[in-house]
C-alpha cells in the first residue's frame, strides 16, 4: 500500500514538472507583457466570455455528440484558445455559407471553421497567419471514369457543395457546369445517383469518404488543385489588434509544441505534410538557441515563417455615379460591378420571378382541386374517401410552418427517394410544390363556399363554368393569398434554390457591405410586391368585367 502511495506521488511530481516545462513557453494572456486588450478582445473580456464559431457538419473537425455538445478538432482548438485567454468559451454552430456573415455581424468573436484562406474572404474578414491546417480540392469519381486532367471537365456537370472556396474558381478556370448542393450529404447522394461526373470537394473530406467500404467503386481521380491553407478568422481590423496577435502566437505554439499533430491523431485524421512542415519550421532555432520563428515587437511573424497570403484582388472599378450614390446615401454598390456577381443576381431575380409565377398558378390549381374534392359528388357513398384525405391535407398544410414543410420534403422525402430509387428532387420543384399546396389550401377555403353556392344556384351548368364563376367571386380573397405566397417564396433560399436572397447572402459572404446589400434587397422586394399587387388588381378588373 505504502509503495503504491509513493509511486502516485512521484508520478504527480513528474507530471507537474513536465507540464511546467511544456507550458513554460506557451503564450498565456496573463503572462503577456503588453497585456492591454483592445478592440474585440477587450469587448469579450468585458462580456467575460469568448464566442467562437465552429462547424457541426464536418466530422471530425466539428460535430455534435449525443447530448448536443459540440466536439471535434476545431472545438478543441477553440477551447484551448479560451483556456489561454482565461475565459470561458461559448461555441456557436456556423456553416460554410454563414460563418463570415456571423463574424461581421458581431455574433461571434472568432471563427475556426475549416476556412480556406482566399483573397475574396480577406475582403470580408481578417484571416490570421500562421495557418493551422491546409487542404486542396480533388475530384471523387466512379472508378471507371477515364478523367485525367481538370481541363477535360469543361462543360461537364460537376457536383459542388455550397459555399466552398474553390467553387467559383472551378467554374471560371475550368468551365465546369456546376451542380451545387446545400450540404456534403446531398452532394454525395447526387454523385451516387449519377447526376454529375464527379464531386469536387475538400481532399481532407473526400479521403475520409473513401475509407467507407460503400465507396469502394469510387476513386480520387485528379491531382489536388488550389491547395489552400486554413486560417482562424476575426472581424476586419481585428487581425492587427490584440485578439489577432494573440491568436497568431497561439497557432504558432500549437505547431511548435506538436499539440496540433497530437489532436489530429486523437481524432483519427491521417498525418499531413503541411502540419509536419509547420512543426519543424516553428521549432527551428538559430546558433544561440533562440527560436527563428517568433513575433517581432509589433506582434507579426517574419514572412519566411508563414505560408504566402493570397494576392489581394483588385478593387472592382466603380463608375462615378455609384460613388456619388455612396457619398450621399451610404449605399455601397461596389459588388454590383463584378460580372459574375451581376450574373448571380440576375439569375436570382429570374428564379424568384419564376418561382412566384409557378407558385401562384400551382396554388390556384391545388385550390380548385381541393375545393372540388370537398364539394363534388357529395352525398355519394364514396365521397368520404376523397373528402377526408383532402381535409387532412388542408389542415396539415395550413397548420405547419412552410419552412418545416420545405425541410421535410426536400431533405427528408427527397433523401429517401434518392437513397431508395436514385433520383433527386430539385429545390425549385420542391419549393413550387410546397408553396402551391400551402397557398392552395387557403385558396380552397375561399373557393369551397363559392363553389357550393354555384352548385346550388345552377346545378345544370358545366363544371368548368361553375369553377370559373367561383374564382371570379372569390378573387379578392385569392389575390391576398397570392401576394402572401410571393412574399413567402424567399424561404426557398433555405433549400439552396438560387433565388435573390441566396444571391445577396453570397455577395455579403464575399465581403460586400451587408447593410447596403440588405437595403437593396428590401427595396427590390417592396417594388416587386407592389408590381405583383398592381398586376393582380388589373387582372381582377379584367376578370370581374
Amino acid at each position: 500500500m505504502m509503495a503504491r502511495g509513493w509511486l502516485i506521488w512521484l508520478w504527480c511530481c513528474l507530471l507537474i514538472a513536465v507540464s511546467c516545462d511544456v507550458l513554460g513557453g506557451e503564450p498565456r494572456w496573463a503572462d503577456d507583457r503588453q497585456a492591454k486588450a483592445d478592440g474585440r478582445l477587450a469587448h469579450a473580456m468585458q462580456r467575460e466570455r469568448l464566442i467562437v464559431g465552429v462547424k457541426t457538419d464536418y466530422p471530425p473537425w466539428g460535430m455534435r455528440d449525443r447530448s448536443g455538445r459540440i466536439i471535434g478538432l476545431e472545438a478543441d482548438l477553440a477551447r484551448d484558445l479560451g483556456r489561454r485567454l482565461e475565459m470561458p468559451v461559448e461555441l456557436v454552430s456556423v456553416t460554410t455559407s454563414n460563418r463570415l456573415n456571423r463574424l461581421s455581424q458581431g455574433q461571434v468573436d472568432v471563427v475556426i471553421a475549416t476556412l480556406g484562406d482566399t483573397a475574396i474572404r480577406r475582403r470580408a474578414a481578417d484571416l490570421i497567419r500562421p495557418h493551422y491546417y491546409a487542404s486542396g480540392v480533388r475530384l471523387l469519381t466512379p472508378a471507371a471514369s477515364a478523367l485525367t486532367r481538370w481541363e477535360a471537365l469543361e462543360g461537364h456537370p460537376v457536383c459542388l457543395t455550397e459555399g466552398a472556396y474553390f467553387n467559383r474558381e472551378l467554374v471560371e478556370r475550368y468551365g465546369i457546369h456546376p451542380q451545387t448542393f446545400p450540404g456534403t450529404r446531398d452532394s454525395r447522394l447526387a454523385l451516387r445517383d449519377g447526376r454529375c461526373v464527379g464531386w469536387a470537394y475538400d481532399d481532407s473530406v473526400l479521403s475520409q469518404v473513401l475509407d467507407d467500404p460503400e465507396w469502394a467503386d469510387f476513386r480520387l481521380a485528379l491531382p489536388s488543385r488550389l491547395d489552400t491553407p486554413w486560417a482562424v478568422a476575426v472581424a476586419s481590423g481585428e487581425g492587427e489588434r490584440s485578439l489577432g496577435r494573440f491568436i497568431a502566437r497561439t497557432v504558432a505554439d500549437w505547431h511548435r509544441s506538436g499539440w496540433l499533430v497530437e489532436r489530429q491523431r486523437a481524432w483519427g485524421i491521417p498525418d499531413t505534410d503541411f502540419l509536419e512542415v509547420q512543426r519543424r519550421r516553428f521549432q527551428e532555432t538559430d546558433a544561440s538557441g533562440e527560436l527563428l520563428c517568433r513575433p517581432d515587437a509589433g506582434g507579426a511573424f517574419p514572412e519566411s515563417c508563414l505560408e504566402p497570403a493570397p494576392e489581394p484582388l483588385p478593387a472592382p472599378s466603380v463608375p462615378a455615379w455609384a460613388e456619388r450614390v455612396e457619398r450621399h446615401t451610404g449605399l455601397d454598390l461596389a459588388p454590383l460591378f463584378d460580372a459574375l456577381n451581376r450574373q448571380r443576381l440576375m439569375t436570382g431575380i429570374a428564379t424568384t420571378l419564376a418561382l412566384s409565377i409557378v407558385a401562384i398558378l400551382g396554388s390556384l390549381v391545388v385550390g380548385v382541386l381541393l375545393a372540388l374534392a370537398e364539394r363534388r359528388g357529395s352525398g355519394r357513398p364514396w365521397h368520404w374517401l376523397v373528402r377526408w384525405p383532402s381535409r387532412l391535407l388542408v389542415s396539415v398544410a395550413r397548420m405547419t410552418p412552410p419552412i418545416l414543410q420545405l425541410y421535410i420534403v426536400f431533405f427528408g422525402l427527397g433523401g429517401l427517394l434518392a437513397a431508395r430509387f436514385g433520383f433527386t428532387l430539385s429545390g425549385f420543384l420542391v419549393a413550387s410544390l410546397v408553396f402551391s399546396v400551402y397557398a392552395g389550401s387557403s385558396n380552397a377555403a375561399v373557393l369551397s363556399p363559392m363553389l357550393a353556392r354555384q352548385m346550388r344556384q345552377d346545378p345544370e351548368a358545366p363544371l368548368l363554368r361553375q369553377v370559373a364563376r367561383s374564382i371570379e367571386q372569390g378573387f379578392e380573397g385569392l389575390v391576398s393569398i397570392m401576394v402572401n405566397i410571393v412574399k413567402a417564396a424567399g424561404m426557398a433560399s433555405t433549400i439552396a434554390v438560387p433565388e435573390v436572397i441566396s444571391a445577396t447572402h453570397r455577395l455579403i459572404g464575399e465581403g460586400g457591405d451587408a447593410a447596403s446589400l440588405m437595403t437593396l434587397l428590401l427595396v427590390f422586394y417592396f417594388c416587386f410586391v407592389l408590381v405583383v399587387m398592381a398586376l393582380l388588381n388589373l387582372l381582377k378588373r379584367w376578370v370581374i368585367s
Binding site: 468585458q46 456573415n101 419552412i403 418545416l404 431533405f411 427528408g412 413567402a488 428590401l522
Partner: protein
C-alpha cells in the same frame, strides 16, 4: 442509429424542444400585441379627417404590408447591433427579440387594415364589427406562429433551431423526417387549438 434509438433520442430531448416551442408562442404573442397596438393607431390615423394625417399613415401601412417578414428578419439581424454596453457590462440582445421585431411589421399592416375596416363599419352602424376583428385577429395569430419558425434562419433560439441541433447528430433522411415531423405535431396541435378558439368565438358572437 436504429429506429428505437432515434425515438429514444427525440424523447430525451423533448423537454428541450418544448422549451423551444415556448419561444415560438412567445415571439408570436409579443409580435401580435405590439403590432396590433401600433397598427390600430395607424388605422385610426387613416380614418382621420385631415389628408395630412391620412396619407403618411397610408404609406406606412403599405410599407409594412409589402415587405416580407422573411427578408426583414435578415435585415434586422444584419443592421441592428448584436450587443450593447450597459452599466459597464456587455448585454447581448437575444436574437429572438430581433425575430419578434421582424414579425411586428406585417402585424402592423394587418392591424391597420382591420382597424380601418372596424372604424368604417362602426360608422355605418353595422353590428358585429368588433367580433369580425377579433376572429380575424385570432386567425392571423396562427399565421404569425407559423412564420415564427423562420426565426431559426437568423440563429434565434426556438424550436426549429433546437430540432436542427438534435438532427445534426444523425442526419439520415429517416431521422430528419422523424425530427421535423415531431416538431410539426407541436404546431399542428396549437393550430387546431387556435382555429377551434376562432370557431368558438364566432359561434359565441353569433349567438349574442
Amino acid at each position: 442509429m436504429t429506429l428505437a434509438e432515434m425515438l429514444m433520442l427525440l424523447w430525451q430531448r423533448t423537454p428541450d424542444l418544448i422549451g423551444g416551442f415556448g419561444y415560438n408562442l412567445l415571439i408570436a404573442v409579443l409580435a401580435m400585441v405590439l403590432g396590433t397596438l401600433i397598427g390600430v393607431g395607424l388605422g385610426a390615423a387613416r380614418y382621420h379627417r385631415s389628408r395630412r394625417v391620412r396619407l403618411p399613415a397610408g404609406w406606412l401601412t403599405s410599407l409594412c404590408r409589402n415587405v416580407p417578414s422573411f427578408v426583414l428578419m435578415f435585415y434586422i439581424a444584419f443592421v441592428l447591433p448584436v450587443e450593447v454596453e450597459w452599466g459597464g457590462g456587455v448585454v447581448t440582445i437575444p436574437l429572438w427579440y430581433k425575430a419578434t421585431l421582424a414579425l411586428v411589421i406585417p402585424v402592423v399592416g394587418f392591424a391597420s387594415d382591420q382597424g380601418l375596416a372596424l372604424l368604417r363599419q362602426r360608422a355605418q352602424g353595422r353590428e358585429g364589427a368588433g367580433a369580425t376583428f377579433l376572429v380575424a385577429w385570432v386567425q392571423y395569430y396562427l399565421i404569425v406562429l407559423m412564420a415564427s419558425a423562420t426565426a431559426s434562419v437568423i440563429g434565434a433560439d426556438e424550436v426549429v433551431g433546437r430540432v436542427n441541433e438534435v438532427i445534426a447528430f444523425d442526419s439520415t433522411p429517416t431521422f430528419l423526417l422523424l425530427g421535423y415531423g415531431y416538431v410539426c405535431l407541436f404546431f399542428l396541435a396549437s393550430g387546431l387549438l387556435i382555429s377551434a378558439t376562432a370557431r368558438y368565438m364566432e359561434a359565441w358572437f353569433e349567438r349574442r
